[in-house]
């Protein structure tokens, strides 16, 4: 955020958050302050020892003593101080000039990271035939449509979330495609990674501390997003909230942050802003291999893992793993797809290139009227606005499925997994994942056949606009796809999901097989019911 906007945004965020917490009366204010104190003190109990922790502890203790003899005014002052502290921590130091520099540095930085592992490649990359990241990051779909809207209002890009590398890939890919700088919230743990913190800080990321559970903290985050949209900063939210642990395409979206688009639109209408509109662009990221795939699926499958929201010890925390992963991706000659889907307004309606909202028959809609009461005045209605955002979320979920690009590892994992599961008489998925069941291998011919069968069904879905196929999946036969995916599985992960020995295909890391297979759930392609 530009320096001249930072102070303004800070003051707006603080005053709105405090106002919202206190306008519902004395009890609500007391509850807001008490909740924040409680959640923060709980967090600090388990925080790593540091000067910062000690300072925060003493600050919260002083609040406690002030509140004991406090009036409403005193409570409001304490709340303001708490909110001020949250807001200052969240606000990034985004600067468009630094952003431009950082986006140019991404491909260079990644290449350098990769070179460091192989002197031979270092030489090769310095030559004219060096690795070109552009060839590996494909931005497709409704790119022109989305770009056409950037000057007609404020954009919210809403991508799927697979990996911590998403931020880097998106920052680079969208910049190269001509997008203006984007603000986005990134977990505090990402800033701890020494390799990535430079890019995170300067690609427009602001800090989100998921360990902070106080409701008022979430309010501050939402207000910050709203205010930045009102000020005309294009934003990027991950509506899935966190990386998809199972690799399923996100269908249950967190609507809180998404609703800030509607709030910003309403506030700009009230302020009679010349370009009040906000446009939401769903975006699907498709990876052949996922850096943290192994940790994510293991975590998903562990009962305890389901509640583990912040993972700090995954592959992203290891520089070596990132080198290996990037090298693997480049050696595979694979592509990362960033597929932009048709933009929507904050109510979920499609939008044309001029920024007009349309109904399903292509008729223009006056969207201001969605916000009017029976007297024709702009009105606020929490239930109504939540429902509008829910409908937007529904449209984004649908777009995620349609924009998913099927890559060889997805198709092969799905086809082989379903085939193997179909051979088992025991329906227990967990037992199969643990033991591998009765069938330890299938023939190459059998595997190729089931891949061919799946691809035929996928082509039908693609012709109906329900999914996208990568060129390789569309054009290769089952056996070639199988070989391509086997190479992929063998390139990066320590234990491959599938492996060829002679003319047979063996399953090894079934959790990973399940993980890559999950990318094609939700299309009605399953042979057996295996919901987890």
């Amino acid at each position: 955020m530009r320096r001249e906007d930072q102070e303004r945004a800070l003051e707006e965020v603080i005053s709105r958050t405090v106002h919202n917490a206190s306008e519902r009366g004395s009890r609500a204010l007391e509850a807001a302050v008490a909740d924040t104190l409680y959640y923060e003190q709980q967090r600090l109990k388990t925080a790593k020892p540091s000067k910062r922790r000690d300072k925060e502890r003493s600050r919260y203790s002083s609040y406690k003593s002030r509140l004991l003899r406090g009036s409403d005014h005193q409570r409001k002052m304490v709340l303001r101080e708490m909110v001020d502290s949250f807001a200052r921590e969240i606000l990034g130091n985004f600067d468009p000039r630094v952003h431009a520099l950082a986006t140019r540095a991404v491909p260079f930085g990644l290449k350098t990271l990769l070179n460091a592992t192989s002197p031979r490649q270092l030489v090769a990359w310095r030559g004219p035939g060096g690795v070109n990241l552009e060839e590996h990051v494909v931005v497709d779909g409704e790119l022109e449509h989305a770009l056409a809207l950037r000057d007609r209002g404020t954009l919210i890009l809403a991508p799927t979330h697979s990996s911590n590398l998403d931020s880097i890939v998106l920052g680079y890919g969208l910049h190269e495609a001509g997008f203006p700088p984007l603000l986005y919230g990134a977990g505090l743990n990402l800033f701890d990674n020494p390799l990535m913190s430079f890019f995170m800080q300067n690609l427009g990321a602001y800090k989100v501390d998921r360990r902070k559970k106080a409701p008022i903290y979430k309010q501050v985050l939402k207000e910050y997003a709203t205010v930045s949209l009102e000020l005309g900063y294009h934003n990027l939210f991950f509506p899935g909230g966190t990386r998809s642990r199972s690799n399923l395409i996100e269908q249950k979206l967190k609507l809180g942050l998404l609703g800030t688009g509607l709030s910003a639109y309403q506030n700009r209408l009230r302020a009679k802003h010349p370009r009040p509109k906000v446009f939401v662009v769903p975006l699907v990221l498709s990876y052949e291999l996922v850096l943290e795939g192994k940790t994510l699926i293991d975590d998903h499958l562990r009962d305890v893992g389901r509640s583990r929201y912040i993972i700090t010890d995954d592959e992203f925390a290891s520089a070596k793993r990132i080198y290996q992963f990037m090298r693997g991706l480049l050696e595979l000659d694979t592509k990362i797809y960033l597929t932009l889907m048709p933009p929507r307004d904050p109510f979920g309606n499609p939008v044309d290139r001029e920024g007009n909202s349309l109904d399903s028959r292509g008729r223009r809609i006056d969207i201001e009227r969605y916000l009017m009461n029976s007297k024709g005045e702009l009105s606020r209605d929490n239930n109504r606005d939540q429902e509008y955002t829910r409908e937007l979320g529904h449209e984004i979920s649908r777009a995620y499925l349609q924009g998913n690009t099927v890559l060889p590892t997805h198709a092969v994992a799905f086809a082989v997994f379903e085939h193997l599961r179909g051979l088992e008489s025991d329906p227990d998925l967990y037992r199969w994942l643990r033991t591998g069941g009765q069938t330890e291998s299938i023939s190459l011919g059998e595997a190729s056949r089931v891949v061919d069968e799946l691809v035929n069904r996928l082509k039908e879905l693609e012709s109906q606009g329900k999914v996208r196929l990568s060129t390789r999946v569309r054009e290769c036969n089952g056996q070639d796809l199988l070989m391509s995916a086997l190479k992929g599985f063998g390139t990066y992960h320590d234990t491959p999901a599938l492996e060829r020995r002679g003319d047979r295909i063996y399953h090894h890391d079934r959790n990973l097989l399940y993980y890559y297979r999950n990318r094609l759930v939700h299309y009605g392609l399953e042979r057996v019911e295996t919901a987890v």
Binding site: F347, N349, D359, S360, R361, R363, I365, D366, I367, R369, Y370, M372, N373, S374, G376, D381, N383, R384, E387, Y388, R390, E391
Partner: protein
């Protein structure tokens, strides 16, 4: 947006709803295709074909112009057959705006897509604040001024409020429900059970059979509804058991009369001709059986009604089949279980 109400469809239920809105004090426009009936309504305040000489509220006027009916109305109620809702919603969509509230009063599912009426309205218009009216509401009892209650369901409280504001009166009580899907499914699916009930009544059976049919019918429509994402408790309310009690026991119900006709050995064409109005249960039976098959839900009564309507089985054969099924526990919380 104004305090004006628009009702699309001048059948018995549509006319009653317009009358209720008029009684509640709202200027109401009733859209009908038939010019003679519009003239009759505007000159004599009657709709003789459906409601005889009943005097309708003077605040109700008729029109054949969709734009005139829809534009600026605070509440628009769709009350046309399920097979016609899409076309009419598409045309009304030319004039509807985002601040308006639309409610569907049609208890049916679209024959081709199996969509609920609220879904059809959303698909064909820009309106988001959509809901449904459903419940035990026999038109002829309401018009006679007898007390009655209904449910207005929507995820939008503004739509529920509009239903209550514009329709609630001394003899008509409106309840709200946020389970729109459940209310619409209950209202549509109960018509299938009503046909079965008419049939057993026509065969001369007494109250034991009817009571068994209603309760087991409720169990199976609830199973399907829950599988499709509804709240099971919705089926215990006015739109579920409430509507079942009425339609399964009254000859005023069109679907019940379809069952009576089948028991009397009449052909489906003859039955429909004699009714003079659409019995949504005929189409809903086919839709319910397809949905049940797709979702893996057992619906023996709906299956039997389907066989009777298609002429593949006689009422006696269906009854025999139902009575000779394997014994099961009555209460089963596994809504997809074989029963």
């Amino acid at each position: 947006m104004s305090d004006r109400v628009c009702v699309l469809g001048g059948g018995s239920w549509g006319t009653i709803l317009a009358h209720l809105a008029g009684l509640a004090g709202s200027e109401t426009v009733l859209w009908m295709r038939n010019e003679e009936r519009v003239a009759e309504l505007n000159e004599h305040h009657t709709n003789e074909r459906y409601l005889g000489q009943t005097q309708l509220s003077e605040l109700v006027r008729g029109t054949t112009e969709l734009e005139e009916a829809v534009s600026g109305a605070g509440l628009v109620i769709f009350c046309v057959p399920s097979s016609a809702t899409r076309a009419i919603a598409g045309r009304a969509g030319e004039f509807l705006t985002g601040d308006q509230v639309c409610l569907s009063a049609t208890k049916g599912l679209e024959p081709e897509t199996y969509h609920r009426m609220s879904q059809v309205i959303i698909q064909e218009t820009c309106v988001k604040k959509v809901g449904a009216i459903s419940g035990p509401n026999l038109a002829k009892e309401i018009v006679a001024g007898q007390p009655s209650a209904t449910v207005v369901a929507s995820r939008y409280t503004e739509a529920i409020r509009a239903g209550a504001t514009f329709l609630h009166g001394d003899t008509f009580r409106v309840y709200g429900n946020t389970d729109l899907k459940g209310v619409e499914l209950a209202g549509a699916l109960k018509n299938v059970i009503a046909i079965a009930s008419g049939c057993v009544t026509g065969l001369g059976f007494g109250m034991n059979v009817r009571a068994a049919l209603v309760t087991r019918g409720l169990a199976e429509i609830q199973r399907l509804g829950v599988k499709l994402g509804s709240d099971p408790l919705t089926f215990m309310g006015l739109a579920g058991i409430g509507d079942l009690l009425v339609t399964c026991g009254s000859e005023l119900s069109r679907n019940f009369r379809v069952g009576l006709g089948i028991a009397a050995g009449k052909s489906l064409d003859t039955i429909c001709e004699e009714l003079g109005e659409v019995a949504e249960g005929i189409n809903t039976t086919r839709v319910a059986n397809s949905l049940a098959k797709a979702e893996g839900v057992t619906m023996p009564i709906a299956e039997g009604v389907g066989l009777m309507l298609s002429g593949e089985a006689t009422p006696q054969e269906v009854l025999q089949d139902l009575m000779t099924r394997a014994a099961r526990y009555e209460i089963d919380f596994d809504y997809s279980a074989e029963v």
